[in-house]
């Protein structure tokens, strides 16, 4: 039997939606870990620009809409030319929702599905093709949500996309035969622009139902993603829930 070869730590990681919130926290953490990082969002924030200026050889950023297939693919090629082949992908970009299903237009549903499910699958496909053509191994982390496993009003289409990504995670891990490790992290609610729509009553209720007594912080998700990208753990095809047991 041939010796199993480990998937090495990622050296060049692409973070979608790395301009703010959780995505920006991943970017900062990976830079600190010495990894080369590429990040995009529709709007490049001053924080992201500052990182690109401070670490010109380690960081590449761009303004890309993840639903623009051609634009995203061009960015991947740009990153490869500047930082080297991508062997790590964090599918983090997503849009939220806060509307009851019956009052959400068909266009809004389509947009949520396009941004949160179709686009990351298409981007993943492209990155995987580039990796495999170069004989590289790699790692993928999909940022999903506790909404994929528990019901929350106002988040029907959003939850469907996150559940879709969790399912894709499992099938990809099988399909890629250990050559690429694919996992999801599923945070509970944390404070960001996306969750800003939640009322204080809802936030208080989530905290009350959380055994650890606080909302998940981005800093608590960051080390888990770092581990999945950089450590040898044999974790593959899993959804790691980070919510202080709120959903248990």
């Amino acid at each position: 039997m041939s010796e199993p070869t480990l998937v090495p730590p990622s050296k060049v990681v692409l973070v979608s939606g790395g301009s703010k919130g959780l995505g920006l926290a991943f970017v900062n953490d990976l830079i600190d870990a010495g990894v080369k990082v590429a990040a995009f969002a529709r709007t490049v924030t001053p924080e992201l620009t500052a990182l690109a200026e401070k670490y010109p050889d380690q960081v590449h950023v761009g303004s890309v809409d993840v639903t623009d297939e051609k634009g995203a693919q061009a960015f991947v090629k740009e990153v490869e030319a500047k930082l080297g082949p991508i062997d790590g992908l964090v599918n983090n970009a997503a849009v939220g929702q806060d509307s009851l299903h019956v009052h959400t237009s068909a266009e809004q549903i389509a947009n949520i599905i396009h941004t949160n499910l179709t686009a990351p699958l298409v981007l993943t496909r492209f990155v995987l093709r580039r990796m495999m053509a170069k004989g590289l191994k790699g790692r993928i982390v999909n940022v999903t949500s506790i909404c994929a496993q528990r019901g929350y009003p106002g988040l029907v289409a959003y939850s469907a996309t996150k559940g879709g990504m969790d399912s894709a995670t499992r099938s990809m891990a099988r399909e890629l035969g250990g050559r690429v490790l694919v996992n999801s992290v599923a945070p509970g609610f944390f404070a960001s622009d996306m969750s800003a729509v939640l009322g204080q009553t809802q936030l208080d209720q989530i905290v009350r139902r959380t055994p650890t007594g606080h909302l998940t912080e981005p800093e608590e998700v960051v080390p888990v993603v770092r581990m999945l990208l950089l450590e040898n753990t044999n974790i593959n095809g899993q959804v790691l829930v980070i919510d202080g047991a709120a959903s248990i």
């Binding site: 806060d98 509307s99 009851l100 019956v102 009052h103 729509v197 009322g199």
Partner: protein, 83 residues
Amino acid sequence: MSELTRAQIRDLMGEVMKAQGKTLPSDDGADLREIGFRSLDFSELALRVEDEIGDELNFDAPGLRQIAKVGDVLDFIEQLQSA
């Protein structure tokens, strides 16, 4: 199809409540929790208004959370119609 007047919206709201054996008070300041008008009742009202005007009135939930009194419901639907 044209927009409904405030009075017409109020009539529809009364119908939603009547179907549940409740009565809509005439006072716009009445508290929704006290009269038993819940968020899904608001959805039902919005869908009834949509039926009447032949158009969809889609909206996000945060606006709904501000609604506390009968008058707020009427204001919200009026605003949605003219948006």
